[in-house]
């Protein structure tokens, strides 16, 4: 099982978690995780811990691409529309973008709950995805 990018998410026993960085001083969370120091300009924190983000959130917005995105995206052939959702994670106070699995734009609504999962890109490696809340 190859992940499309290292250090941004994990899959353990079929359960996917996004990995962020959390400032030990002020609680600011970043995704993708960053190293070094806190991005909050009012905070001097230099201790960022890798943290697992909430696996559920509410749809901030969504869209679907009617045409294959260009390289370096590898589109499926025949093309299946890429659906994206930006999902708001309440505890972390951030919105995270991801592909949507098993739902189309017709199924989505702003404010509906989605749950993190993962799925393969057309050329194999896994990426995090938003799916129906169980």
């Amino acid at each position: 099982m190859t992940l499309a990018i290292d250090g941004w998410f994990t899959v353990e026993d079929g359960v996917t978690h996004l990995l962020g960085a959390r400032c030990a001083a002020c609680g600011t969370v970043t995704f993708p995780p960053r190293t070094g120091f806190c991005p909050n300009p009012g905070c001097d924190g230099e201790h960022l811990e890798v943290t697992r983000l909430s696996r559920r959130g509410r749809v901030w917005s969504y869209t679907e691409s009617g045409y294959p995105p260009p390289a370096p995206y590898v589109a499926a052939e025949p093309y299946t529309p890429v659906t994206l959702a930006a999902v708001e994670l309440e505890r972390e106070g951030i919105v995270v973008l991801g592909q949507v699995k098993d739902l189309t734009v017709a199924d989505l609504e702003v404010g509906m709950e989605l749950e993190l999962t993962c799925g393969p890109l057309a050329d194999g490696p896994l990426v995090w995805m938003w799916g129906p809340a169980s």
């Binding site: 990018i5 400032c23 600011t28 869209t63 691409s65 009617g66 260009p70 973008l97 702003v110």
Partner: protein, 394 residues
């Protein structure tokens, strides 16, 4: 002391695939002619860079200076995504205000590939712009689609409203000899065009174009010495960056900043860009006669109207439907025809907006003239925290 726009010039927008320098030079020479300034008199040239045209694009200032004929002028080149042109004008303006030069030329031009903008080539997993395509297939229109869907959910806008923006802008563009698209369109045509980034269709989304724009900026004293007594003034150029935490998902990001520790600022980024310009000019939205806003999509024009304070949140559709923002309306938005009629030639776009402000404020905008125009606002936003607002007055 203020800085004035002494000359404005453009090459028409289109899609020819010729070298960007050709468009930039045509615009530069038109602006110099308009200003009645000869190239050797220019003390400072700023080029807005293009990132898809090789080395000459990265040193645009030198490229144009060389092509115009080495004159010994000082030069600068800058890139700030869609705000490149505004930042170039700000650099020129600052040098004039510092008393280091009297007259400056600002040039931006682009030659764009067909289709979606894609990241600069190569395997670059450290570049978020590359990664968003690789991992998510998140094109620029995908982000426009997110904003449009959000607008529909928050404010009840409909695809019919979005189509009405295109109809309005196409009507204005048909009157602009510099626009790429000069054919009026119907709402039915927009709504029947292919879906690109749900809920946005092909005709809701701006094309990528070739084009060039230039302005000659000067000190007020210099203008007066040249006998120009009532010039268009640059009352403000704002190029502020976002304030943490930016709670809006911006291109090319995977996520917003976190609001866990600090609440989001009272003014989101787009509103803050315009606010800084209003503060600098000592003017407010109520003073604006017309606005050029960055309609990367039809839906985004409606967002912008609210962000820059032309109406309260959620009421842009109402102004649109009342005809207020059309030519001849109370507050024309994108009288040039906007990106809907031009398409996007990135480094030229913010300069082109100022060309339109200049012509409107001089009362020389022909069939698309906004009656009694005194204050013009131009705004845009690009990738990586770039954005700009320019206020010009006369």
């Amino acid at each position: 002391m203020s800085v004035v726009v002494l000359g404005a010039g453009m090459h028409p927008w289109g899609k020819w695939g010729r070298p960007f320098t050709e468009y930039g030079l045509a615009a530069a020479r038109a602006a110099l002619r308009d200003a009645d300034v000869s190239w050797p008199e220019v003390g400072f040239l700023v080029g807005a860079d293009t990132i898809r045209n090789g080395y000459p694009g990265f040193v645009a200032g030198a490229t144009y200076a060389r092509a115009l004929g080495w004159s010994g002028a000082r030069i600068a080149s800058c890139y700030a995504a869609c705000a490149s042109g505004a930042q170039a004008m700000d650099i020129a303006r600052t040098r004039i205000l510092a008393g280091l030069c009297d007259v400056a030329l600002v040039v931006g031009a682009d030659s764009t590939p067909k289709g979606f903008f894609k990241p600069v080539g190569g395997d670059r997993p450290d570049d978020p712009d590359w990664l968003r395509f690789r991992l998510l297939g998140a094109t620029n229109p995908a982000y426009f689609g997110l904003y449009a869907r959000r607008r529909m959910a928050l404010h009840g806008s409909t695809p019919g409203d979005f189509a009405a923006v295109k109809v309005k802008n196409a009507r204005a563009g048909a009157l602009n000899p510099l626009a790429r698209y000069r054919k009026p369109v119907t709402a039915e045509e927009v709504l029947a065009s292919p879906m690109v980034a749900d809920p946005l269709r092909l005709m809701d989304i701006c094309a990528t174009s070739d084009g060039g724009a230039a302005v000659v900026l000067a000190s007020e004293d210099y203008a007066r010495r040249r006998g120009v007594t009532d010039p268009v003034r640059l009352a403000a150029v704002s190029t502020v960056t976002p304030v943490f935490p930016n709670a809006v998902l911006e291109l090319p990001e995977f996520a917003t900043d976190s609001c866990a520790a600090v609440p989001p600022p009272a003014r989101p980024f787009r509103a803050a860009i315009a606010h800084a310009a209003y503060e600098e000019a000592g003017l407010g939205p109520e003073d604006v006669s017309f606005a050029e806003v960055y309609d990367l999509s039809t839906a985004l024009e409606l967002d912008w109207m609210e962000d820059v304070g032309l109406c309260p949140p959620g009421e842009a559709d109402k102004l649109l439907r009342a005809g207020d923002t059309a030519l001849g309306g109370r507050l024309p938005v994108n009288p040039s025809g906007g990106l809907a009629s031009f398409g996007e030639a990135i480094p030229a776009q913010a300069i082109a907006q100022v060309c339109e402000l200049t012509w409107q404020l001089r009362g020389r905008a022909g069939d698309r003239q906004v009656a009694g125009a005194r204050v013009g606002l131009a705004v845009n936003q690009g990738l990586f925290g770039h954005g700009s607002a320019v206020i010009a007055t006369r």
